[in-house]
């Protein structure tokens, strides 16, 4: 089940969501995403996403005294995350409603 979720997950969004509360470095992001969202992000995917988000100004690196550089979500990143969360909430609401009609799913 986790593998299927991994395949359909949106890694940039997961990283933004992970950074929404406080700055984290790479390993902390992967741990947080795995524990709170149930999705594993590989090292290659994580740094491809970090590079892309940084180039778009959605996250920013912080100074670090060792090799574990933390990242912080920017205002632009927070706005994108809020918009995407809203969109996902709508999708989730529609999905719950329709599943409720069709299967009598109690989660609706």
């Amino acid at each position: 089940m986790t593998d299927r979720l991994d395949r359909w997950a949106d890694p940039p969004l997961l990283v933004l969501a992970s950074l929404a509360d406080e700055p984290k470095h790479g390993y902390a992001i992967t741990q947080d995403v795995a524990e709170t969202m149930g999705v594993r992000i590989s090292a290659g995917t994580l740094y491809a996403v970090i590079a892309r988000l940084e180039s778009r100004g959605l996250i920013e690196p912080l100074e670090s005294e060792d090799r574990r550089r933390p990242y912080r979500i920017t205002m632009a990143g927070a706005e994108v995350l809020a918009q995407e969360s809203e969109r996902m909430s709508k999708v989730a609401a529609v999905a719950r409603e329709r599943l409720g009609h069709r299967l009598g799913w109690a989660g609706a």
Binding site: T30, A43, G44, A51, S55, R56, D66, R67, R68
Partner: protein, 291 residues
């Protein structure tokens, strides 16, 4: 940005995977990725995921890691050099097969491959020449105006090197050639000299690009032309692969003439040159779009 000290025990495989990335990407993220691998136990699947993401990092490098005009100039210089090598490899193959008597390939696919290569090479050279001419003239004018003699020599190398090579070729064939043409040894010398001339002709403008650092519409036009030229050269590379494979499969005399190792090495060189040309052209064209 200062680079933190690296740990001594970083796994060799992880470093090998990171070596596949563009230098600017490595400078920025290598230490962090190694730290992540250290923390997560450095599993093979994690290293493999890093290696798999290397090619996209070349094709589509993050914007914040590059000065875009600098990337266009670097890509142009690489495309010039690698496509010259690719053209040289194709020409050597065509010359060599004629030299060895394989002038009438017995399978139509081989004949088609020769024709496709000839046409692709001509079109590619024409597009690159026309698209690069304004930039070349721009740099030439500036080098003359500012009396930068070294840059003038670099810029004129596409003219000087082929002329010098042709003069040397004529002299060699007159002095060392007989009724059957030149000996195998001299053919090798001529071939190596040809590659050296092509490399010199291509490297000169690349060095001038780095030193003069031109910008503007001429640079963008040259990058676009290089992209089109590289796409056409990719067709030429496919034609070379078809011709060599076809000769090995369908012309027993060719297969008997060579050990399988020589065509295999040759094809590997062609594929490397074609890959470098294509990747560099894509990088340059993408960067040029937002100049």
């Amino acid at each position: 940005m200062t680079r933190p000290a690296r740990p001594n025990g970083a796994p060799l495989l992880a470093r090998a995977a990171l070596a596949l990335y563009p230098p600017s990407w490595r400078t920025r993220y290598e230490d962090e990725v190694l730290a992540l691998l250290d923390d997560s136990g450095g599993r093979l699947s994690a290293v493999a995921s890093i290696a798999l993401r290397a090619l996209p990092a070349w094709f589509s490098p993050p914007r914040h890691l590059h000065d875009r005009p600098a990337r266009v100039r670097a890509s142009l210089a690489t495309v010039l050099l690698s496509s010259s090598m690719l053209a040289g490899l194709g020409l050597v193959f065509a010359q060599l097969t004629q030299f060895q008597g394989f002038t009438a390939p017995s399978h139509p696919a081989i004949g088609w491959a020769y024709s496709v290569f000839d046409i692709a090479l001509a079109v590619s050279a024409l597009v690159a020449g026309l698209g690069g001419l304004p930039l070349w003239l721009l740099m030439l004018r500036r080098a003359r105006r500012e009396q930068r003699f070294r840059d003038l020599v670099y810029l004129l190398s596409p003219v000087i090197a082929p002329v010098a090579y042709l003069a040397g070729l004529i002299a060699t064939t007159r002095l060392a050639g007989g009724a059957q043409g030149v000996s195998t040894g001299w053919f090798g010398v001529i071939t190596l000299a040809g590659f050296a001339a092509a490399a010199t002709a291509a490297a000169g403008p690349g060095l001038a690009l780095r030193r003069l650092q031109p910008r503007g519409p001429a640079l963008r036009l040259a990058a676009t032309a290089a992209g089109v030229s590289a796409a056409v050269m990719a067709a030429a590379a496919v034609a070379i692969v078809v011709a060599v494979t076809g000769l090995c499969l369908w012309v027993p005399a060719f297969a008997g003439y060579h050990s399988a190792m020589i065509p295999a090495i040759y094809l590997a060189l062609v594929i490397v040159a074609a890959t470098v040309t294509t990747v560099s052209a894509v990088r340059g064209t993408r960067a040029a779009r937002s100049l």
